[in-house]
Symmetry: C2
C-alpha cells in the first residue's frame, strides 16, 4: 500500500477545495437548516455509455478512496472561504467546516476496472449530508475522465486485438500536466502496453516507450555522415567497428535490389539513422517520413516505407533479415482527448435521506433517478457470460444461482422477464468505512488484468464497435413498484389533462 499512497499523494490538487462553489453554499444552507447530521445516500452513475458503445470501464476508484481518506479543510482553505462567502454567513459554520472529515463516510463501489452500464451506480456514498455533498465534484472529476479514457483505451484494444502492441502518445495534446498523467494511467488500465509519458512511468510504474521526432532527423547533415562513429556488435567480446564504411557498403548493395537510385537517398537522414543505431545498437528504430521519398522510382510494394526497408537492410549487425509487419500502434490525440466524445456524463444524485428514498423527477425519462439505497448484482448464464445487471432494494432477497428472479425494465411496465442465473456476482464492495480502507486496492497491473478478463465475460455483440446490442439493466419487481409509487406521489396534480 505504501507505493500506492506515495503515488496518490503526488498530486496535491486533489483536495476538498477542488470543488464547485455551490457545494460550499449548499453545505451552509444545510448547516443553517439543521441538516448536519442527516444521513444521506448518494449514487454516482451515468446515463449513457460513451462513444456510441454499450459498455464503460469503471476507473478512478483508488483516487476517490484516497480523496475521502484525506478529506479535510486546512486553515488556509477556511481563510480563503471566508473571503468568498457572503458576509451574512455565520462564523460558526467555518468552525464546523474546519472540523469535518471522511471518517463518517462509507464508500461502496464496484471493483475498479469492472465493466459498468447506464443507471447502475458505480459508487455509493453514505454519511452526513453536508459532508457527502461537499465531496461530489471531486469524486465526479476523479471518475469521469478516468472511466472515459479507460473505456476509450479498451475500445482501441478490442479493435487492435490482443496480439498487437499499443502505446499511448498523448501527453502533448492532453488537458495540461495532470490530464496527461491521468490519460497515461487510465489508458494503461484500459489495455495499453506502454506510454511515452516518462513521469507516468516513474510515478505509476507503467512501461515507457518511444520513437523519434523529425527534429532529430533534420538535425543531421550529409557532411556528418563520415563521422557517425563506431558501432558495438551484439557480441560484446568484439571491438566496436567504424560504422560509416559498413553503411556505405550496404547502401551500394541494396539500392539496385530495391530499384532506387543512390541519389534518392537523403544522406542527412541516413546520417541520423546511423547515429541512432550507434547510440542504440540493440534497439534501432527509424522515423521515415521527414523528407518524403518520391516513390515513383521505387517499385516495391511498401510504397513510402521503402526507405525504412532500405535502412533496416543496411544494418548488418543484427545479421538476418526478417519479415516486416505492423505490430505496434502508437496513438495520441484521439486516445487521450476522446475526440469522439470528450466527456462522460457521470452524475451524483441524492437517493435516500434519513432512510427515506429521494428522487429527481423529469418529463425526460432519461433524467429520472432510481430512488433509495440499492444493491446490484450481475447475473451470469450457463456459458459464463453476463446476462444482465439487477438492482434491488436493500431489503430484497438477493438473487441466487439456480433460482429464477423477475427482472423488470426500469420504465417500461410491459418489459419484464424471469431470469435463472447460473452464477450471481454481488457488485458492491465496501472500500471505506469507519475511517478505514476495508477492501484491497489492487495495483494498476491488476486492474488492467481485471479489465481484460471482464471484457471476456460479455457477449461479443455488446462489445463490438458497430451497432452493439445494449446490455440489459433491470430492477427487481419490488424496486420497480417502489420507484413508480414514489414517482406518482411526487408528480404534482394539475388541471384535467
Amino acid at each position: 500500500m505504501a507505493a500506492v499512497e506515495e503515488r496518490m499523494n503526488s498530486n496535491p490538487l486533489v483536495q476538498p477545495l477542488l470543488t464547485d462553489f455551490y457545494q460550499i453554499t449548499m453545505a451552509y444552507a444545510y448547516w443553517k437548516s439543521g441538516k448536519v447530521l442527516d444521513n444521506a445516500v448518494f449514487d454516482l452513475f451515468f446515463r449513457r455509455n460513451p462513444f456510441q458503445g454499450e459498455f464503460t470501464v469503471f476507473a478512478g476508484l483508488e483516487e476517490c478512496v484516497h480523496f475521502v481518506r484525506n478529506f479535510h479543510y486546512s486553515d488556509s482553505d477556511i481563510s480563503y472561504l471566508k473571503t468568498v462567502m457572503p458576509s451574512t454567513v455565520d462564523e460558526e459554520f467555518f468552525t464546523f467546516l474546519r472540523g469535518i472529515d471522511g471518517s463518517q463516510v462509507t464508500l461502496s463501489a464496484l471493483r475498479e476496472g469492472s465493466l459498468v452500464f447506464p443507471r447502475v451506480p458505480l459508487m455509493r456514498l453514505e454519511g452526513p449530508l453536508p459532508v457527502i455533498q461537499l465531496m461530489e465534484t471531486s469524486l465526479l472529476n476523479l471518475v469521469n475522465f478516468a472511466s472515459l479514457v479507460a473505456t476509450n483505451a479498451a475500445r482501441f484494444r478490442l479493435a487492435a486485438g490482443w496480439d498487437k502492441g499499443l502505446i499511448e502518445f498523448g501527453l502533448r495534446r492532453s488537458q495540461g500536466p495532470d490530464g496527461g498523467l491521468s490519460a497515461s494511467k487510465y489508458c494503461y488500465i484500459g489495455g495499453f502496453d506502454a506510454t511515452s509519458n516518462v513521469l507516468a512511468g516513474k510515478l505509476c510504474g507503467i512501461p515507457v516507450k518511444g520513437t523519434q521526432a523529425h527534429a532529430f532527423i533534420t538535425s543531421f547533415t550529409p557532411d556528418e555522415f563520415p563521422h557517425v562513429g563506431k558501432l558495438q556488435p551484439v557480441d560484446k567480446s568484439q571491438e566496436p567497428r567504424d560504422f560509416y564504411p559498413v553503411v556505405c557498403n550496404w547502401l551500394k548493395k541494396v539500392t539496385p535490389v530495391l530499384r532506387v537510385l543512390e541519389s534518392e537517398v537523403h544522406l542527412g537522414e541516413l546520417t541520423a539513422f546511423s547515429a541512432y543505431a550507434v547510440a542504440f545498437p540493440n534497439q534501432f528504430l527509424a522515423l521515415v517520413d521527414t523528407y518524403d521519398v518520391i516513390s515513383a522510382g521505387s517499385q516495391d510494394r511498401f510504397g513510402r516505407f521503402s526507405l525504412s526497408i532500405k535502412t533496416y537492410q543496411a544494418m548488418p549487425v543484427k545479421g538476418s533479415r526478417c519479415g516486416h509487419e505492423i505490430d505496434t500502434f502508437g496513438i495520441g490525440t484521439h486516445l487521450v482527448t476522446c475526440q469522439k466524445q470528450p466527456a462522460l456524463g457521470c452524475v451524483f444524485k441524492l437517493v435516500e435521506l434519513n432512510g427515506d428514498a429521494r428522487m429527481k423527477l423529469s418529463q425526460d425519462i432519461e433524467k429520472v433517478t432510481i430512488p433509495g439505497k440499492k444493491e446490484a448484482f450481475r447475473l451470469y448464464g450457463g456459458d459464463g457470460r453476463a446476462l444482465l445487471d439487477l438492482m434491488q432494494r436493500c431489503d430484497d432477497t438477493p438473487p441466487s444461482p439456480g433460482k429464477r428472479v423477475l427482472c423488470r425494465h426500469p420504465f417500461d411496465e410491459a418489459k419484464r422477464a424471469y431470469v435463472c442465473p447460473s452464477h450471481v456476482e454481488t457488485l458492491y464492495h465496501v472500500y471505506w468505512k469507519n475511517g478505514k480502507i476495508c477492501s484491497p486496492l489492487p495495483s494498476l497491473k491488476e486492474i488492467q488484468e481485471h479489465v481484460k478478463s471482464s471484457l471476456t465475460l460479455f457477449r461479443q455483440d455488446h462489445m463490438r464497435g458497430l451497432n452493439p446490442t445494449p446490455y440489459k439493466v433491470s430492477l427487481s419487481d419490488n424496486l420497480y413498484t417502489f420507484m413508480h409509487r414514489l414517482w406518482l406521489n411526487h408528480a404534482p396534480i394539475g388541471e384535467l389533462f
Copy 2:
C-alpha cells in the same frame, strides 16, 4: 511576482520528466554524436485554427517560462531514467543530464493573450540542441490545451456579447484535477467572468460563483416547511422574522395571478428555496427544474420558468419586482472539453541549427515548416485594424509605418501584394534569457484584458462564428525565396517525371 511563483509551483507535475520518452533517447543520440553544444532554434506553432474559426488565443506562456526556469533533473529522476534506458547507454550521459538546466536557453514569444494565426510561431526557443529537445513535450502540453480552451472561451464570449455574465462550470467533466484547474484559469483569460472551481479561486484569484444542485432541492420535504427559520431583513437594524408565514402569505397571492394551483407547487421544493433564502438573504437563487412543472396550467410566456417567477415573487424582503431576463450563462462540459475540437495541434520544429536553416519537407504542403530563425510583425491599417502578419528572416529590414513592403503567400508564387502599414507591431518579446526572466509576466486579469482588447483589433469577418474570412499570414520576399531554394536543395532527385 511572488504570487505568480507560488501559483506556478502549486503543480509539481510540471517537471522535466513530464515528457515523451523519445526526448530522452534522442538526447542520448545527440550526446553520443557530439551534438551537445549545437545551437538550435525551435519554433512552436500550429497549422490550423481550432473550431473552424480563424483565430486562436495564445495562452500558457507564463507556465512555460516557469518550466524553463525550474528545468533540472533530480537525483531520483536520474535513478529512474537509468532503469528505463537500455543497458548499452554510457553512464556519463546521466552525469550530463544531471547537470543541465535552462540557463542557456532563450525563450521569445508573443504576449500571452495575443491572437495568433497558423504558421506564425507562438514561441521560439534557442539554445543547446539536446536541452531544447528535452523541453519539447512539456512546452507543447502547457500551450496546447491552454490556448485551445482560452480560444473556446473567447468564442463563447464573442457569441454572448460583453454585457452578459459567463461562468465556467466544467470541473466535473474535465481531464482530472489539473485539467479542471487549467480549464478554469484559461477560460478566465479567454473572457469568462468567474468559475465554480473553488481551488481555481484560491490559487489563481478568479472570482467563484455557483448555483444549486438537485440534491439540495430533493433533500427537503414538505413537513420541514413550517420550520424554515427566520429571515434577516436587508435593513440590519430590524430583527429577523419568521419566514414561514411570509412565504405562505405570498404563495396565496401569487398563484391566482400566475393562474396556477397551489397543489401544483411542490412544497418540498418550496422548502428548499425558503431554506436557501434564510441562509443567503442577500444572494437568493433557485434551481427550478428538479420536479418538472406541468406547464399546461400556466399561461405565462416563460414556460417552465414559471416556478422561478413564483419563487422570486414570493420573496418579500428585497421589496420591488424587477424584469426577468437571462443575463448570465453557466457553461460546463462543452467549454472545458472543447467538444467541437478537443485538441489544438501545436507542434515544435527544429528550424535552425548552428546558423543553418532546417526544414521538414512533405508532399503535403500543409506539413512543410518555414525554415530558419525568424522575426514576425503585425501590420495595421489606417483604421487601427490588423491587416496581416509578416514573417521575415532575422537579417531583413523590419517593416516600418508608411513604407510599403512586399508580402508573399508562403506557398503560392503568384499571390503577393504590397502593403503599406500605418502601424507595425513587433510580435516577439524575450521572456527568458541568460537565466533570467526579462519581460514582465502580467497577472491573469491583465492577460484577460489583453485578450479583450486584441479581439477588437481584427476585422469582424475574421472573428465571426460562421464562415469567417482567414486572416493573412505572409512571408517577406527574402524569406520566401530562401525557403523555396532550400526546399529544392532538399528534395531528392529521382528519375524522369
